[in-house]
């Protein structure tokens, strides 16, 4: 029976698919552990850095440093973090829905990650730069990205820089999050770190050594560089988690499918055997 062979063929191909998704799940799981660890390790630093910046922001006049200056927002720059590869569930789709919320005329984009680049090109959004990304991003690589954003902000071509990225909540949940990073006066408490903490501003004004300008010149860009780096690590962790979950459900689905198909196959086989017996006995009756 042709039907039998078709079913057998389908079972085989579904099994193959399951094998591939299973392998991808394992790879993603091991990468996920590393990526999550990297993201978590940086969290203490991020929390402390954020606290310092927030208390600093309240302690000094915002005209002290160009990176703190709040201007009327005519043009906004969005730094979009996405993944290079697909097969990670709804991660990118959810992210791109947020992209559409930004007005097309006044927003330009900087894309990190190939999927985001493709999406922006397809949607004909204004993209001024895209940066390639490797599996293990180094601080130096992301520094180029943050430096580019700082330059754009300082030369006045954009008045606000927002980072849009899939925030890592836990393995099962990643939420797209838009976080303003420039001017630094718009940095929220909590910022890159999820944790919120009450921040106490020193009541007797802060002293700077050797001077406010010199310290701010060093710490403000350092904060931006680190934020971008930390965001990237978070994006990586989100990507691998999302991929692992997506691949796990794909493997489960494939297994269920194989089960259903096997049942169908056995039924068909049984039916054909019954048929053959029927034919033989009918023939015998006719002869006898």
């Amino acid at each position: 029976m042709a039907n039998l062979r078709d079913i057998r063929r389908r079972i085989k191909s579904v099994k193959n698919t399951a094998q591939i998704t299973k392998a991808m799940q394992m790879v993603a799981a091991s990468k996920m552990r590393k990526a999550q660890q990297a993201a978590i390790n940086g969290r203490d630093y991020a929390i402390l850095m954020n606290r310092v910046i927030v208390s600093l922001r309240d302690a000094v006049d915002q005209t002290t440093h160009p990176l703190l200056a709040r201007r009327e927002v005519k043009h906004e720059l969005v730094l979009l973090f996405s993944t290079d590869k697909g097969l990670c569930g709804g991660l990118n789709t959810n992210l791109f829905r947020e992209v559409m919320a930004f007005p097309a005329e006044t927003t330009s984009f900087v894309s990190v990650g190939r999927k985001g680049t493709q999406f922006l090109a397809r949607m004909k959004r204004k993209m001024i730069a895209d940066f390639p990304l490797r599996d293990h991003p180094t601080f130096l690589e992301t520094k180029a990205i943050s430096k580019f954003c700082i330059e754009k902000f300082l030369d006045g071509s954009v008045d606000k820089v927002t980072v849009l990225f899939p925030m890592f909540v836990n393995t099962l949940s990643q939420v797209p999050k838009a976080m303003p990073i420039l001017p630094l006066t718009s940095v929220e408490e909590g910022g890159i770190a999820v944790q919120q903490e009450q921040i106490k501003v020193p009541e007797a004004g802060l002293l700077f050594e050797p001077g406010a300008e010199s310290v701010l010149n060093a710490i403000l860009p350092a904060y931006i560089h680190f934020s971008v780096y930390q965001t990237l690590l978070g994006t990586r962790a989100s990507e691998q988690s999302a991929r692992m979950v997506a691949m796990k459900s794909a493997t489960d689905n494939a297994k269920n499918l194989v089960k259903d198909l096997t049942l169908e196959y056995n039924k068909a086989r049984q039916a054909s055997i019954t048929n053959e017996i029927l034919e033989i006995s009918t023939a015998q009756l006719a002869l006898g």
């Binding site: 310092v52 020193p202 004004g205 700077f208 050594e209 010199s214 680190f226 930390q230």
Partner: protein, 133 residues
């Protein structure tokens, strides 16, 4: 009491109540006792000393920032290694590599700055380690 926290992008190296701490700042060594005036300063690669209950702990630290408030010292740096964890031979090898790379003069500005920073960190490591022996 003074609460000291030393964190690097990789981990939280130190978090404890201490008696006092001596920090290698841009303006020279800076001793901090409880009830210090709120101060924000930059950290240079060098030796950070923690004094707690009469005992002294030395750490080699890299570049970074220090935020001091009356009861708290927060040190943000790109490197912090306890004296006992310093691998002297590895640090010396790193110094040799960095010096060679700088001699070649083929580096761009950005790379040069990076190599120089890592050289200073390695030098700080070796300095801290040799003080004792």
């Amino acid at each position: 009491m003074l609460h000291l926290e030393i964190v690097t992008p990789e981990q939280k190296t130190y978090s404890d109540d201490v008696d006092s701490v001596v920090i290698p700042g841009v303006e020279g060594e800076l001793g901090v006792l409880p009830q210090h005036v709120p101060l924000m300063t930059q950290l240079l690669p060098g030796e950070l000393r923690v004094i707690k209950g009469g005992e002294e702990l030395r750490l080699a630290v890299g570049e970074g920032f220090v935020e001091i408030t009356a009861e708290k010292v927060a040190v943000l740096t790109d490197m912090a290694v306890k004296e006992s964890d310093i691998d002297e031979s590895a640090a010396e090898a790193a110094i040799r590599r960095a010096e060679e790379a700088m001699k070649d003069n083929k580096l761009g500005d950005e790379e040069y700055a990076t190599v120089k920073a890592s050289l200073q960190k390695s030098l700080a490591l070796v300095r801290v380690k040799r003080r004792r022996s």
